[in-house]
Symmetry: D2
Subunit: 388 residues, 4 copies
Amino acid sequence: MTFTTDQLAQLEKLAIEVPSWAYGNSGTRFRVFGTPGTPRDPWEKIADAAKVHELTGLAPAVALHIPWDKVDDYDALKQHAADLGVKIGTINSNTFQDDEYKFGSLANSDAGVRRRAIDHHLDCIEVMKATGSTDLKIWLADGTNYPGQDDLRARQDHMAEALAEIYAQLGDDQRLVLEYKFFEPAFYHTDVPDWGTSLVQCLALGDKARVCLDTGHHAPGTNIEFIVMQLLRLGRLGSFDFNSRFYADDDLIVGSADPFQLFRIMYECVRGGALDADSGVVFMLDQCHNLELKVPGQIRSVLNVQEMLARALLVDREALGQAQQDHDVLAAHGVFMDAFSTDVRADLAAWRESKGLSADPMAAYAASGYQEKITAERVGGTQAGWGA
Amino acid sequence: MTFTTDQLAQLEKLAIEVPSWAYGNSGTRFRVFGTPGTPRDPWEKIADAAKVHELTGLAPAVALHIPWDKVDDYDALKQHAADLGVKIGTINSNTFQDDEYKFGSLANSDAGVRRRAIDHHLDCIEVMKATGSTDLKIWLADGTNYPGQDDLRARQDHMAEALAEIYAQLGDDQRLVLEYKFFEPAFYHTDVPDWGTSLVQCLALGDKARVCLDTGHHAPGTNIEFIVMQLLRLGRLGSFDFNSRFYADDDLIVGSADPFQLFRIMYECVRGGALDADSGVVFMLDQCHNLELKVPGQIRSVLNVQEMLARALLVDREALGQAQQDHDVLAAHGVFMDAFSTDVRADLAAWRESKGLSADPMAAYAASGYQEKITAERVGGTQAGWGA
Amino acid sequence: MTFTTDQLAQLEKLAIEVPSWAYGNSGTRFRVFGTPGTPRDPWEKIADAAKVHELTGLAPAVALHIPWDKVDDYDALKQHAADLGVKIGTINSNTFQDDEYKFGSLANSDAGVRRRAIDHHLDCIEVMKATGSTDLKIWLADGTNYPGQDDLRARQDHMAEALAEIYAQLGDDQRLVLEYKFFEPAFYHTDVPDWGTSLVQCLALGDKARVCLDTGHHAPGTNIEFIVMQLLRLGRLGSFDFNSRFYADDDLIVGSADPFQLFRIMYECVRGGALDADSGVVFMLDQCHNLELKVPGQIRSVLNVQEMLARALLVDREALGQAQQDHDVLAAHGVFMDAFSTDVRADLAAWRESKGLSADPMAAYAASGYQEKITAERVGGTQAGWGA
Amino acid sequence: MTFTTDQLAQLEKLAIEVPSWAYGNSGTRFRVFGTPGTPRDPWEKIADAAKVHELTGLAPAVALHIPWDKVDDYDALKQHAADLGVKIGTINSNTFQDDEYKFGSLANSDAGVRRRAIDHHLDCIEVMKATGSTDLKIWLADGTNYPGQDDLRARQDHMAEALAEIYAQLGDDQRLVLEYKFFEPAFYHTDVPDWGTSLVQCLALGDKARVCLDTGHHAPGTNIEFIVMQLLRLGRLGSFDFNSRFYADDDLIVGSADPFQLFRIMYECVRGGALDADSGVVFMLDQCHNLELKVPGQIRSVLNVQEMLARALLVDREALGQAQQDHDVLAAHGVFMDAFSTDVRADLAAWRESKGLSADPMAAYAASGYQEKITAERVGGTQAGWGA
């Protein structure tokens, strides 16, 4: 076994929220392709999410998207999740699909539209109460496409005011997590384009407001692990939205485009105590599976995060610290790369088996017959997607 | 009048194809917002396109997208266009919306899918014959999302073979124009990512194959006017797809994001003879109007191209050449910027009036009642969009 | 005259600091080419800077770089500047050229190196007192080239502590301005990579700490005017370092790569009150003239800033506000572009003549014989550059 | 042992040229830091290069840069290399450091400057004859900083003509390799910005002209392995300049920024037969060691290339092909990632020991006393750098 007892204890702490929408259909503006077996409702999405947890032991919570996951009886949904061994996680609001939001929601110059968007968030807080969720995640599609289209500063002030009204309704154990994104669906400017803007909005709100870092939402060349470090240092990292990208917000499987970057991010998590319960950091996926099967796509994703965390834990921090202090660039980089170069898959398989899980969750899924079962059963109805 | 007779003669040559799909609804993967008055069929799209030409004198042709613009009677469609004062331009194929194309079309490893995609292009050639169109434009959504997903080289060979089969069916006065795009909807690799790939495929095909340059399809930092220059130098620039972008393939109104870049592109067109009839260069828009009204969005676009061409024509090429030869950097740049800094709008208004057009086409459109008319009349049916 | 009295009053407020180092030689890692007439010392640099002000009326202050501009008698230097009609502006520290700074300065893990770097800044504060300068600008070359090379978080804390020690020595009327830069000369990470990091460091310091925004120091696709807006909104924009770039920190003449971006930045300055005396915003150039002549390169630069400010002042803000409120995208964008499309050069020439200046400062410089004079006189000695 | 006999045979084929200039000092425009033990002349550089080969068995050739590596007696230099167990590889021309080249070399509008630059290349061909080198590598710093500064198309034609004159002087067993670079030291345009331009220039020259792909010379988001594939497919990949980068042409140790990208590139080399002797592909490093020690920096680099080649060889191409044919995205990606995730270091250590080399070349270098020796001996004289 490559890992020490302490490292294993750290590995044990990893819990990853999976997004309900990853199990629905997704695509690009050019086309959304359907997949046999796609869930038709939140109940089926949660069943799929529970399968991921059952096979990996890594995904005990599932995040909801409102209104996509609206149900009449949240108590029953919560119980449904519990029966399947998972719980409801973050509640994600959605203010980008109604016609009224064409020109923005919380940052819209129209007070009536802002009212509607604020009310939607207050509804989400009700869902949180009903499901036991503690985090309200806000990602805004707000922005403009053309220079001059709207007043950048007035929008920022509108948003601050609206967020304050939402924040005021949070319970003592609830938090608001504000996500930033530098591009898309607005093309000229987005109202929360970077971690700086998210942070200053959070600072104005209070201690229960935190920043959400989506790994796909940065300009080319951005050093993401630096931002992870900075937000942990400031005590304001609320959650991750993990995915990967080659160019834009591609929402690919986390770790599939640049595994070394994921390793560096996980190293900063270890370095900054993000795995500690009191850090308040939620690890979450936010992905699309446009072409590949969705349940095994999610399995692969949580395994990737675990694998890079495992490698990050192998960094010999004492040796690293010494080389850094000596300004021995090659030695320090070498210690870092030694951990990254280590193949931890056999150890993680052993870890899984020690917990009664299959050594190979991907193979276990293929052998489980689950995909065939949902393909056969989920006939008729409307496959879930971003519109529902 | 700022312009010389020669410059006016050059301005006269500008003719811009507008895309039928710009008049339909478009949006992002997050949401496609509808707009009152949106056409329900190709006949209405052509009517809108004709309005743009009527008011600007700049847009005598409209490009079609097959199957979006499929009709039973192309003769009638051609006549409809002629009656409205425009003609049918480039025929654009579409191999990205059927389920069979999930993993590619002409580059797919499945020979059956390639067959289907080839046949679609042969159908498009039939449409060309029926409509009098001379250009078949091929943009492929082909590519992959994950490293290892498919064999990059085999795909390139498949595509070459398929293109050759299509090319062989072109008539003597027909051309194949191959568009490149470095990203989206495929995220890891696209099969025609850059002008180099488009060019080598065209060189393998023959003289009737040309490169299509879409101004939004390049990596950040790419010097687009350099590519314009190079393709003109090689005699292989087939057409432009004009639009503008801040980050990705934003498909915004041409000239709205970086007017100076458009000026530089138009200067290379002037420099390289792209306006001459025998250059074979087709100027075309390829845009989306997600938020703004579509007809005036197109009017604005063709005016922008004309305005930057007009400024480009003002470059004092003799003075420029002298300063360049002297390696007088500031003087040469100054001559270039003098042209760009000149406000040509009054002159272009005068030009329009001299041709019996309104001095201000945007105002003329607003005053025309056309928007109110289509809003009132186009009720019921399904608004056109990328899906139809 | 295109401008109203109010607009003219705004134009009058524009004062741009020029950097002493722009008059020295500069280049790339491949080669620094020399130029005849290049100053050999701070006295000659100030003479060149004064020439720019004499001809444009726009550049009343010159920023110094220490130790490049170290002199024995700062009183005399200050008097020299005053005699030539300019004053000493921002003092820029330099902690990137001594061998001791190979692995960083204020963020170095070595306390002795940090001590040396702090002391250098305290020396700079002495220079400020001697020259009457009120701003200490800190740009740090600190960072690393390889993942693992150093501890990102410890460096951030070291820097915070060091900045606090420097800040504590500022006089009541002195400020600390912290510049950010996302890349170069460190390639993996820089210790102040973005406005967010600069801001959180400033917030920790106190009210006299502000952010410096260098227009060339952002990742591709970054909306810079948004950051200008945000920092003005937060009351933390300390200064601009104007220049332009196509890809990296190219340090080209401001306004030469993307004039429309400069226009948008100047519009946010107008919108956010940056021209008001109490805004505390300093407009400064930070440029290189690798190939072109330096004095006219600077003249051209300050004229470009003025020209884009003038266009920005022409934005019909009432009409713009109305169109924005109506969500009339094309109208709002149109109002914005109308201002940008206006040729203000004749009006600015008239403004200059009204102040007793030449209508055309570039021509006036060429006619002045100054270039010939410095070329003839500045023979022997060592031309100033980044090393001295 | 993880590797099959066939895979080992492929591994045996790897030979990497190291650049003489990597052993000299390098840095940024801000500062070039010196390092104790840096060579003072080509003889010492070759000694350092030979050390890399001695310890790794991977670096049998050293590339020269003319005039940096000019000597009076090339026969003696060649013999010196042979005595140390290496040979002279590619000859790199340099047309960016003389004052005459301020505005370009082969693309300069001044025929006299072009003459001088052509003659320099003819001199390089003489060096090739004298040293037995077969490749002339041309990288041009040519380009402009400002729009309008020069005529893009005329420069392209000048360059084509000059290259033809150089090409005509090549011997039957000599090649011309043309490198492209999209940015720096020219900032607005470079005359060979992309592989497309390099290719069309090579096609115009003839069969002995090939493209050089420097891994650091692409725009953000470029899929480099696609270009590798395409150039191999076209039979025009002449050589690699390996290095890595986070943002620009950072020239960091190959494999240090994105090891997965290097893996993908090496996979395409395997896929496309680049290791076969008749492929004509030369694997070369082109790096800077600004902060780290240079000899071990080079050792680390060649080991990184070998390690990623070894992983690439582990791709189960049969299983991959099957999964690709099945369009099983997750399975195909999984096969690919299995190879990348494998830790091959122990196997490579065993391979080294089987050849009488140290299992750990980095440790062997540290233990060898070589660094101490060159530090002690190389005192006085001028350390080599980019200027000499």
